[in-house]
């Protein structure tokens, strides 16, 4: 048996009691001095916050009223940053326009009603925001909606659709120290390889007329003068994607090397459109501007960015399943094969946990997100050797195997789901949980326990080097043809910078909650409120600001909980 000694084993009161002292890592900086001072004061905070929250609840006039076309406004003392353009400049997240999906290699087809037959993100199995899921999970209150129509989205960014995402899913920085600072928007689920375009043509001048895209999965008219048939390539005017690869040729002005700042959106599956590719400029030169096509298959790019859903393994009848259902229910994942000290179970096992839904109520802990072998901020000294970099012989620089940057190349913010699970029932003694140095105890002592009673996992180090290395956990990807019924990939862009307006006032946090409704990891909640009401991570705020954020958040939650059910379109 294991006991949780980590900081996540706390009651909701701890949300206030231990507040922001959990070692947050802001994307900008840390203020440990502030944190330490706040810790000392935290003991009395709960009572204070409760009172303040109650007062705010009475006073706040529908603080979080969700309305179409608005993402800003006053929020009391903490919302002042929104009145200043110098502190309120990051847009809240919106979905992408269909042409943008298409041009980076993702189909927007609505065809197919099952995970196997679905063809694109507008299909029922994809459950794309804007078409589906306006209410219900991840929204937790009847009054909450997961997305709203917001006509400012496209005005702010032409590749964005006027669907603004309110459901803000929290996750740990897996390839770092597990800090609770990632926030993403789970827009759609991809259930099979057909979501990746295999045949598509579009007009490259997206900004002048984005609706000229065409292809078997889009309704728009074809705009190329001559339909190019591979291997014949188009001379100009088209983006063509074929067989999972793609081809782009830009208008003559761009091909000749004239940078066109408006030519955004040729990334990923579009082909290299640099002058070298056209034969006009010197060979070897790279493409033009942001999103200038690299010609990479989206499927290959996404493989470098792993999201880790932690599905509940404890079944409704209380049984703990040690293996997933579906294609992963095979001999490769038999617990006994991973650690011979574990019980032998029949394979395929009739006792398995489902993998067909990653909705928040199905999770045992919050998400982890790994940009994998290439740090977003370059802190890993990643050197792109393929572009001409080389290394001093003293080994002072290192090479990493991921060629892509999340925000540079993965323009839809996609992830491949890596499901991970525990191979031993925590309620039964065995090699994974016997003794204080057992793998379960080691991780639980630091991170606490999840809803299943197994350790919360926040980092790759914990999963790989402590749990998987001992056969006490396993990871895998579900069937790429859709047979498992779940999400193989996600359209769920991380909010590049959630500070300074990135979290709107009507957004709400989507996180794993205990049966009581209280958050499993309150640090996400607090960070979210700090970002929402002060535009900064808590670690960059004063103690009084953090307190204020907490109280406003508590009031907002109370208001949302008591508001009448939302009407949906």
């Amino acid at each position: 048996m294991i006991t949780g000694g980590g900081p996540n084993n706390v009651s909701y009161n701890d949300l206030f009691a231990f507040g922001y002292a959990g070692g947050f890592q802001s994307h900008v900086a840390r203020r440990k001095d502030t944190v330490m001072k706040t810790q000392r004061k935290s003991a009395s905070l709960f009572l204070q916050m409760f009172v303040v929250a109650a007062l705010l609840f009475m006073a706040a006039p529908r603080l979080l009223a969700q309305s179409s076309g608005s993402s800003s406004g006053s929020s009391g003392s903490g919302g002042n940053f929104r009145n200043n353009p110098a502190t309120n400049f990051n847009p809240p997240p919106c979905d992408f326009q269909d042409f943008f999906y298409n041009n980076v290699g993702i189909s927007t087809s609505s065809q197919g009603n099952t995970p196997v037959t679905a063809q694109g993100v507008d299909s029922v199995p994809a459950q794309r925001f804007g078409l589906f899921r306006q209410t219900g999970p991840p929204a937790i209150f009847p009054s909450q909606v997961n997305w709203v129509v917001d006509n400012n989205c496209t005005t702010r960014d032409t590749v964005r659709k006027n669907i603004r995402i309110l459901a803000t899913t929290a996750g740990y920085v897996d390839d770092g120290n597990g800090s609770p600072t990632d926030f993403i928007s789970i827009i759609a689920f991809l259930t099979n390889q057909s979501f990746f375009e295999t045949s598509f043509t579009s007009n490259p001048d997206l900004t002048s007329n984005p609706n000229l895209n065409t292809g078997p999965n889009t309704p728009f008219p074809f705009n190329c003068s001559v339909i190019p048939v591979p291997p014949t390539l188009p001379d100009a005017g088209c983006v063509v994607i074929t067989n999972g690869n793609s081809q782009v040729t830009l208008p003559a002005t761009e091909a000749a090397g004239a940078a066109n700042a408006n030519a955004v959106g040729f990334g990923l599956n579009a082909r290299n459109n640099g002058p070298g590719n056209t034969g006009v400029g010197p060979e070897g030169t790279s493409g033009l501007g942001v999103g200038s096509g690299q010609g990479d298959d989206m499927q290959d790019i996404v493989s470098n960015f792993e999201a880790y859903p932690a599905l509940k393994q404890r079944l409704p009848n209380g049984t703990f399943a040690v293996i997933p259902c579906g294609s992963l229910n095979n001999a490769n994942n038999a617990p006994n094969a991973l650690n011979p000290g574990l019980p032998v179970i029949p394979i395929p096992s009739p006792v398995c946990f489902p993998v067909n839904s990653i909705a928040t109520p199905s999770l045992r802990q919050d998400w982890r997100f790994a940009t994998n072998r290439n740090a977003i901020d370059g802190s890993d000294n990643n050197v792109v050797t393929a572009s001409g970099g080389s290394f001093p012989s003293d080994g002072s620089q290192i090479a990493h195997n991921a060629p892509y940057g999340y925000f540079c190349d993965d323009l839809l913010g996609m992830w491949i789901n890596t499901y991970f699970w525990f191979t031993q029932d925590p309620g039964v003694s065995g090699p994974c949980n016997t003794g204080p140095n057992s793998p379960y105890q080691t991780v639980a002592a630091v991170e606490g326990l999840n809803l299943d009673g197994t350790p919360i996992v926040k980092t790759a180090n914990e999963l790989n080097n402590i749990l998987e290395a001992t056969g006490c956990a396993q990871e895998g990807k579900i069937d790429f043809s859709g047979n498992d019924g779940g999400a193989v990939w996600l359209i769920c862009p991380a909010i590049a910078d959630p500070t300074n307006g990135g979290i709107s006032l009507d957004a709400f946090i989507d996180q794993v909650r205990r049966p009581s409704g209280l958050p499993l990891d309150p640090r996400f909640t607090i960070n979210f409120f700090c970002l929402q009401f002060f535009g900064q991570f808590c670690s960059n705020l004063t103690p009084s600001q953090v307190n204020s954020a907490q109280s406003q958040g508590a009031a907002a939650s109370s208001a949302a909980a008591s508001a009448p059910a939302a009407s949906t379109n």
């Binding site: 196997v116 099979n192 390889q193 057909s194 990746f196 291997p231 074929t242 067989n243 999972g244 690869n245 081809q247 290299n272 590719n277 060979e283 070897g284 010609g295 990479d296 298959d297 499927q299 290959d300 493989s303 470098n304 992963l328 095979n330 001999a331 490769n332 038999a334 094969a337 991973l338 011979p340 792109v384 050797t385 393929a386 001409g388 080389s390 290394f391 001093p392 012989s393 080994g395 090479a399 990493h400 195997n401 991921a402 060629p403 892509y404 491949i416 790989n464 998987e468 290395a469 001992t470 056969g471 396993q474 990871e475 895998g476 990807k477 069937d479 790429f480 043809s481 859709g482 047979n483």
Partner: protein, 453 residues
């Protein structure tokens, strides 16, 4: 060490030509051509693409010999005999001047000169040593470079798109889980297995070591000690291969001879494999229609990421006993100049280690004159990112390379697949073998240290 001469500069050539035109043709000799002819003996592994060897011997070497007043003798050695041949040469202290290996010859580092000054000369023109060369040819123990690595060959996934589409995976296997589940479905539906090689051949060695590495198994730890049995990753990899072979593979995977997996793919007897693109080139040559159905993918995604060892890392060592060391050094410096043509003659197999030697690599991959469609090889664009050096995550050490050349990992997989040993026992057996090799090299290093003045 005398400073090596660089190739004849264009400016000097123009001056010389002008002088020659003025005073007559009698003194128009390259400085290197002066003096008595020398001999340079090269042992070279036989390339997967025969056209490359033809160019290398009949054009490149011939031209270099004429320029340098040297008679160059090239002996092609089948890949499977390279190790034994090298062992024989160092045992007798006699043989070729340059020995070109398809993998890092760390085992032979005591018999090779320090190649640091060769890299230094190359750096004048092509920049500092690339990471893959550095980690493939540098010995942290002796602080010397025991070879020069001028090109490497990526090893992507090849799959028949038409076969895999029938399993609902038209874009082929992407991850090891997908290889298993998809491969199983394809075999159940079509009766055709996936065909990864795990045989004691170069192909099998690369595939087996790649799979182990991608699933987080490691041969050595950070201190250079045997680490196969340090955790359950190797056992998991062994279990995976056993099930993959049983449910989606073929028994031939463990018994194929050299290029057996290639022949099986070309005959449409298997649906996928990992190999150098010489496979696809052979298909393009033999049956262009067939080649259009073969697609490429980067290596499979494992728990360690998208990663795959190179099918070959061309590492050239100048022996300490080489009779023409100066000529050998000059040859290796000049060899980088041939990277561009080498890439072409190898039909895009040879990726130069020095990016500057072929700055438009990506463009070339995008517009391949033989491929259909022309951008088929674009999947290799980022090969350098997903290709670690043999020996990774560490340097290519003598112990790691001896384990490699003794086929310890393919044998370990075969023992499990054939039911001779359980995964745990096989990992334990391999651990013993690796430990013995590690200890042997520790003794060798110790003796070498003691014998130093």
């Amino acid at each position: 060490m005398p400073r090596m001469k660089r190739r004849f500069p264009r400016r000097d050539f123009i001056k010389l030509a002008a002088t020659a035109a003025a005073v007559g043709p009698f003194f128009n000799f390259s400085p290197r051509a002066l003096g008595n002819p020398k001999t340079l003996k090269i042992a070279k592994w036989a390339h997967f693409v025969p056209e490359y060897d033809v160019w290398f011997e009949s054009e490149w070497v011939k031209q270099w010999g004429e320029t340098n007043n040297t008679k160059v003798i090239v002996d092609n050695i089948p890949v499977e005999k390279v190790h034994a041949e090298a062992v024989a040469e160092v045992a007798t202290g006699n043989g070729h001047d340059i020995f070109m290996f398809p993998w890092p010859p760390a085992e032979f580092h005591r018999h090779a000169i320090d190649h640091a000054d060769i890299y230094q000369n190359i750096s004048m023109k092509y920049g500092s040593i690339p990471q893959i060369s550095y980690k493939s040819t540098f010995s942290p123990k002796t602080k010397t470079h025991f070879a020069v690595a001028d090109f490497w060959i990526p090893s992507p996934v090849h799959y028949y798109q038409d076969f895999w589409a029938q399993a609902g995976m038209p874009l082929g296997p992407v991850a090891y889980d997908g290889l298993y589940s998809g491969g199983k479905k394809v075999r159940e539906k079509l009766g055709l297995p996936c065909g990864l090689s795990f045989a004691p051949t170069l192909e099998g060695n690369i595939t087996a070591n790649t799979l182990l590495y991608a699933l987080r198994g490691q041969l050595l730890d950070t201190d250079g000690n045997a680490a196969i049995n340090k955790n359950f990753f190797a056992a998991h990899a062994l279990n995976y291969v056993k099930n993959l072979n049983q449910d989606a593979g073929t028994p031939d995977e463990f018994t194929w001879g050299s290029s057996g997996n290639v022949q099986a793919m070309l005959a449409r007897k298997t649906t996928c494999t990992t190999n150098a693109i010489s496979l696809l080139r052979a298909a393009e040559k033999q049956n262009p229609e067939l080649a259009t159905r073969i697609k490429l993918q980067p290596p499979l995604l494992g728990s360690y990421g998208v990663t795959g060892f190179p099918q070959a890392t061309n590492c050239s060592s100048v022996w300490k006993f080489a009779e023409n060391q100066d000529g050998a050094k000059q040859f290796l410096v000049d060899l980088i100049d041939g990277s561009r043509t080498g890439f072409e003659k190898s039909l895009s197999c040879n990726f130069p280690t020095y990016p500057k030697a072929l700055p438009n690599l990506v463009v070339r991959l995008d517009k391949d004159p033989q491929a259909n469609p022309p951008y088929k090889y674009y999947a290799l664009k980022d090969a350098l990112h997903w290709t670690p050096n043999l020996g990774a995550p560490w340097f290519a050490s003598p112990a790691w390379m001896e384990v490699f050349n003794a086929f310890v990992i393919p044998r370990m997989f075969a023992n499990v697949a054939h039911g001779n040993l359980t995964p745990l026992d096989a990992a334990a057996e391999a651990q013993k073998e690796v430990t013995a090799i590690v200890e042997k090299w520790k003794q060798i290093e110790l003796s070498a240290t003691k014998s130093q003045p």
